[in-house]
């Protein structure tokens, strides 16, 4: 029996969803692997839906919106793009990979293109095989989800364009490099922290093992452990008294 991927698609009401309708009207065939959720705008797609979808058992996620410049809400698709770039980055950093996530544009008049996009994506996922949702992967996904749900990243990403194009609270324009660098640091930090939390949630672990699992330098791991202890999110395993301390999740 061949593998039938489960795909979750978010289609914007005005373009992609209309394009999908047109495909139907035009009888352009495509495989039945996709489940569609209609959203008013691709900008509505909360990036945390992506890891959630994978956690729920989907093998791929697509987000289809209006072509650049066509958005019914002026810039919703740009917002979507920004968020998906970020999500990709997080997925890459977490070692999940972003091949199973697709963002594309389909206009209301592109019925055929819609069917093509679906077909190609299903084939791609079929080639990749089922999403390897093992324990480790779940941990990674939870970390990505927690990072994307966290306020820090969301605020920075949301506020970014305004800081660059208009002004920040000090009435200065923030250079793109500075913002990008800050976002880059924060998403990385958030992801690693959330991964550590997910790791020690299951059992007490020493720093070396955490660093190995995360494939992160030991001294860098330590600095994250220090921060997490400072935030009160993790602590030292009190039953461990030897030379090598273990860390546990603080409840």
């Amino acid at each position: 029996m061949t593998f039938e991927p489960k795909i979750l698609s978010f289609l914007c009401n005005w373009c992609a969803y209309a394009g999908a309708d047109l495909a139907g009207i035009s009888r352009f065939q495509y495989p039945p692997n996709s489940r569609v959720i209609r959203v008013m705008c691709s900008g509505r797609v909360d990036p945390s839906f992506v890891p959630r979808a994978f956690l729920a058992g989907y093998d791929g996620v697509m987000i289809l919106g209006c072509h650049p410049g066509d958005c019914h809400y002026l810039t919703g698709n740009y917002q979507a793009e920004k968020k998906i770039i970020l999500t990709r980055k997080l997925l890459e950093m977490a070692g999940i990979g972003s091949d199973r996530l697709l963002l594309d544009w389909v206009s209301a008049g592109e019925g055929e293109r819609f069917s093509q996009v679906i077909r190609q994506f299903v084939e791609k996922i079929r080639g990749l095989g089922p999403f390897p949702l093992d324990q480790e992967m779940k941990g990674k996904l939870h970390a990505v989800k927690a990072s994307l749900e966290g306020e820090k990243i969301r605020w920075m990403v949301g506020k970014g364009p305004e800081l660059m194009e208009k002004e920040n609270v000090y009435h200065e324009q923030l250079p793109k490099e500075r913002l990008d660098a800050a976002i880059e640091t924060t998403i990385r930090d958030e992801l690693i922290k959330n991964r550590i939390i997910a790791l020690v949630e299951s059992k007490p672990l020493p720093a070396a093992e955490i660093s190995q699992t995360l494939n992160l330098k030991l001294n860098e791991t330590l600095s994250f452990l220090v921060s997490l202890i400072g935030e009160g999110k993790i602590g030292f395993d009190p039953s461990e008294e030897g030379k090598i301390p273990k860390y546990i999740r603080n409840v």
Binding site: V169, Y170, S227, F236
Partner: protein, 1018 residues
């Protein structure tokens, strides 16, 4: 704290009754508190966003291993809320104009971007801030947000924005419920008028990168001592777990390398940093206490344990904690690539090259004056020495080159905490001497409405429950707690506030008290440790006695610690409120009695310390009695002639005696002996017998300063007394001064150190002998440049800036040879021939010298002071020196209020140190003498005379010797002396003693309220 002082109150020719203190470390805080408590208005300026200085970063302090923050934070809080101290943080001093008595100082306040008076320090902003930055408080070992507070106990407890890191996203403004964020803030230039200035800017640690052979910054497991301090601290990066940086494991073998950036002419710092030997010993001990298998090793040049109790601490480190001390210079460090362990190469004392492996290396970095401090000194026109320390002279240790500007702490020279505190108080005495007639002109005295008599009323309790933004409200159902409080008996009014500590809420509380005739107030919010004084002020303003207040700590001990159990947290908050109500029903207004103060001082001892204290106290405008048991003033100074720096001691002494005897407010009573003593702070009475007629005289005074001095020990070893060529240092100095030609004829001179010190009988260091040996050695070289001088020593302890004279002595050819206490030098006499034999440890050969002069650096011993100590009820150390109230932070106070100590009666010390201490006692004394009346009582123990069985339990248990059995045969406790600890109440067999405000009934009612609730919930 208002911004501008009203100068119209001070006349034109009168000095300004305000003082600027630059630096908010432990020295600056001590100076500010002394000033403000003796009638001066204080501007306390710090360039950091918070006060506290380096001491706030320390984990423990030597030699008592006290928790640094625990002993310091009361002073922090006191500075923060003192009516007459205006704390100005994040500010720089730009310039000064005017003259002593009337300076105008320009300050620039850097923006903090947070409203000082709106921020409640709740920390919500930092939790949300998306930008991470490096935390300098933890020595870059951890991270913080771009909006931050330096440390949890910081004063002011106000966040600030690190403008370098902030991207300006605006999130903090949105989450701040107190509306404290203000991105529009800009630099503010301000001019302040002051009568004098005290510099206490502190120090920086030496940049360890400048000693590349140790690999700091390259090898992760090489850390500085201040970083190690943070690693040990419970508030440090690993929350007190001792973990090394490379892999987060516990290091077993730890090496400390001493003198990194000190005693090192290559990096320009050829002075000794004074503190590193002791802090390294402390860190080694603490590390060992943290982890039992740690093996610390200290690589040192000389162990400079010269302070009070230091040598005993050093010996304990060796014997009890197994700390290994190795005398050598470590030449380099290599890292093992795989393990990241470190290989230290060093030449041991046997002359062999050794390589040893360690898991962690701590560099004991020295002190350096910071660049910004040096820059500021330039702006102020204050002269610096070659290292960048503030120039002072030995007899005026707190005066800078510029009149009206004084200095204290590590900016004057490297020094430890007690010496900084002492010098800070000393600087206050000097800074206010010329301002004494402006005392009280600018200081504010608060007026309160007349207290409402509530004694006969039933309790009407008002309960104010705080949301603390979302700090409480986010986890505890505040409205539910409020409604619950309403149901409790005697509760007449309830309210909830977003921030109960905000200014407008204080008005609300006052109005509620008046409108609803409340006679007890409860605030359910944060910790009474930080906020009770403020709320007490509020109810006093509302006409209530300040004791009619109670707090329920539903934040620090409830909402913050049960964040994931909201239901339980709410229940607990209700319980805490019920307990508070139970207590509030029983609290009574407490009266404080005003006693008038005898504004006169008594100084016992007419040496340099006593005379300095008397003179400076008189300059403050108070009458002084100076008692000396000898026929003439001068003490040990009469036998000393020159200082190490070359100052003329006799000229100084003559001048000092003239000024003391010529001062109209000082009565000198020589040939006098103290025979009785009674009273308490503000009102003492001392009886003296005056020879030769032995007439008795009674002296009434408000404070007493003990400056009874010490003696040079007459040795009973090394053939002392059996040959005229064997002299002590004092004898030698007298001979050099009086018979220089004879002394110049000596060609072969041997000096033996530690004669009678650091042994079993006297396990302490006499502190001054190393400097004295070098001083007299150099003098002998001056008299006879061809003389061969050999100094046999154990550790050369020329601490601080005296180190350069040690170097000079070596340059001039004085030979220094070390001996071990197990193998002391031998002195023998064969006919007329004196022989000193000793082991040269480098050549490993027995050596002999036949000296023309043998000088013994003999111990400093305490005088016969037991009787005096018993009379005044002041404690002494095992060695017979007087014991201060606290080794670190109350170095010149006795535990008994109103009694102070100065000079070598406290422990061996140099003249400049005695002068500092004597000056310090003056400013401490002024905190009492400046007041016409003092309040006593309040939280104090009361005896129910009829029940007292005169069993003496309270007399024995009281730490301050307060209770006495009176004529009626009942225990009596002097309100003026009682400190309110309650030990007596807890032990009194007849239960005849009650500690007011913490009466048995109150404590019991609280406990019962708790039990009741537990049963109910079960």
């Amino acid at each position: 704290m208002e911004a501008a002082r009203d100068l119209s109150k001070s006349k034109i020719d009168q000095p300004i009754g305000a003082v600027l203190v630059i630096g908010g470390g432990i020295g600056g805080m001590q100076a500010s508190l002394d000033l403000a408590d003796s009638g001066f208005y204080v501007y306390m300026v710090d360039n950091s966003p918070t006060i506290g200085g380096v001491m706030a970063q320390l984990d423990k302090t030597f030699p008592t291993n006290d928790c640094s923050m625990c002993i310091m934070s009361p002073k922090l809080v006191e500075c923060g809320r003192h009516l007459n101290i205006r704390v100005i943080t994040n500010a720089d001093v730009e310039g000064i104009e005017g003259e002593p008595g009337r300076f105008s100082v320009t300050l620039t306040r850097r923006p903090r971007y947070i409203h000082l008076d709106r921020c409640t320090g709740c920390g919500e902003c930092a939790k949300h801030c998306p930008v991470t930055a490096i935390d300098a408080y933890n020595e870059k070992l951890s991270r913080r947000a771009a909006i931050y507070i330096k440390y949890a106990q910081a004063i002011p407890k106000v966040y600030l924005i690190d403008r370098e890191q902030c991207i300006g996203c605006g999130l903090c403004e949105r989450v701040c419920l107190a509306k404290a964020v203000n991105y529009e803030e800009s630099r503010i230039v301000e001019k302040i008028d002051v009568g004098s200035v005290i510099l206490s800017p502190g120090y920086e640690v030496f940049d360890a990168h400048l000693r590349p052979e140790f690999g700091y910054g390259v090898y992760p497991n090489v850390v500085t001592s201040i970083e190690f301090e943070r690693l040990l601290s419970a508030t440090g990066p690993h929350r007190g777990h001792l973990l090394r940086p490379s892999d987060g494991t516990v290091p077993e073998r730890i090496a400390f390398i001493q003198c990194v950036g000190s005693r090192d002419s290559n990096c320009g710092n050829d002075y000794c940093s004074s503190i590193c030997c002791m802090y390294a010993t402390k860190e080694a001990i603490i590390a060992r206490e943290h982890v039992h298998f740690v093996k610390p090793t200290i690589f040192y040049m000389d162990v400079r344990a010269y302070g009070k109790g230091f040598d005993a601490y050093y010996e304990r480190a060796k014997s009890e904690y197994g700390v290994r001390f190795i005398k050598c210079m470590v030449s380099r460090i290599r890292e093992q690539y795989k393990t990241k362990n470190l290989l230290l190469t060093y030449l041991n004392e046997g002359g062999n090259l050794v390589e040893e492996e360690f898991e962690l290396v701590v560099l004991s970095v020295g002190m350096v004056p910071s660049k910004t401090t040096m820059e500021m000194a330039k702006q102020l026109g204050v002269e610096l020495d070659g290292y960048g320390y503030c120039k002072t002279r030995p007899f005026e240790p707190t005066s800078t080159s510029k009149p009206g500007i004084y200095v204290c702490g590590a900016f004057e020279a490297p020094k430890d905490i007690p010496e900084t505190v002492t010098q800070a108080s000393g600087a206050v005495a000097d800074a206010t001497g010329a301002l004494s007639n402006a005392r009280g002109t600018l200081a504010t005295k608060k007026e309160y409405p007349i207290e409402v008599d509530v004694a006969s009323e039933d309790p009407r309790i008002g309960v104010f429950v705080c949301h603390c933004g979302i700090n409480i409200g986010g986890f505890v159902n505040v409205p539910a707690v409020k409604e619950y409080a309403r149901t409790l008996k005697n509760v007449a009014y309830v309210d909830e506030n977003l921030y109960t500590c905000s200014t407008d809420t204080q008005e609300k509380i006052k109005n509620a008290v008046n409108e609803h005739h409340l006679n007890r107030v409860i605030v359910a919010s944060c910790s009474p440790r930080t906020h009770e004084p403020m709320f007490r002020e509020t109810i006093r303003d509302a006409g209530l006695n300040k004791y009619l207040f109670e707090m329920a700590n539903i934040r620090d001990q409830c909402s913050w610690v049960h964040m994931s159990q909201k239901k339980e947290a709410t229940e607990k908050a209700k319980n805490l409120v019920r307990m508070a109500v139970a207590n509030a029903r029983l609290i009574q207004p407490l009266g404080e009695i005003a006693l008038s103060v005898t504004q006169k001082g008594l100084v016992i001892g007419g040496g340099v310390a006593g005379m300095t204290a008397a003179l400076k106290l008189a300059e403050q405008g108070y009458e002084v009695f100076l008692i000396e048991k000898e026929a003439q003033l001068g003490g040990n100074l009469r036998n000393l002639h020159y200082t190490l720096e070359g100052e003329d001691i006799q000229a100084f002494l003559k001048n000092l005696i003239n000024r003391v005897t010529g001062h109209p407010s000082i009565q000198v009573i020589t040939n006098a002996l103290v025979v009785d003593f009674s009273g308490s702070k503000g009102n003492f009475s001392t009886g003296v017998m005056v020879a030769p007629t032995m007439y008795y005289r009674k002296i009434e005074h408000g404070v007493a300063i003990l400056a009874t001095g010490a003696d040079e020990w007459k040795p009973n070893e090394y053939l002392y007394g059996e040959d005229p060529r064997i002299l002590t240092q004092i004898e030698l100095e007298n001979r050099i001064a009086n018979q220089p030609d004879e002394m110049a004829r000596a060609n072969q001179i041997v000096i033996i150190q530690c004669v009678g010190s650091r042994n079993e009988e006297r396990p302490y260091c006499s502190r001054t002998c190393c400097a004295t040996a070098i001083k007299n050695g150099l003098k002998m070289k001056e008299l006879n440049p061809g003389a061969n001088i050999t100094i046999l020593y154990r550790d050369m302890r020329t601490y601080g800036l005296m180190e350069s004279y040690y170097a000079k002595a070596r340059d001039e050819g004085i030979l220094f040879i070390r001996y071990e206490p197990e193998k002391k030098p031998l002195v023998s006499k064969n006919g007329q021939e004196l022989t000193v034999s000793f082991l040269d440890r480098i050549l490993n050969e027995e050596m002999e010298i036949k000296p023309d002069l043998l000088i013994l650096s003999s111990a400093t011993i305490s005088r016969e002071n037991e009787e005096l100590a018993t009379m005044l009820k002041v404690p002494r150390t095992a060695e017979g020196f007087f014991l201060e109230a606290h080794m670190k932070l109350r170095p010149v106070d006795f535990a008994t209020d109103g009694l102070y100590l100065a000079g070598s009666g406290h422990g061996p010390k140099l003249i400049s140190e005695s002068i500092s201490q004597a000056s310090a006692t003056v400013s401490r004394a002024c905190t009492i003498l400046s007041k016409e009346k003092i309040l006593v009582g309040g939280v104090a123990a009361m005896v129910e005379g009829e029940r007292c069985a005169a069993c003496l339990t309270c007399v024995r248990v009281c730490p301050y010797n307060v209770p006495v059995i009176n004529a009626k045969g009942e225990a009596e406790i002097d309100l003026a002396k009682c400190k309110g600890c309650g030990s007596c109440a807890a032990e009194c067999p007849a239960r005849a003693i009650e500690l007011m405000h913490f009466r048995d009934g109150q404590l019991w009612a609280k406990s019962q309220a708790l039990i009741y609730s537990i049963e109910q919930s079960a």
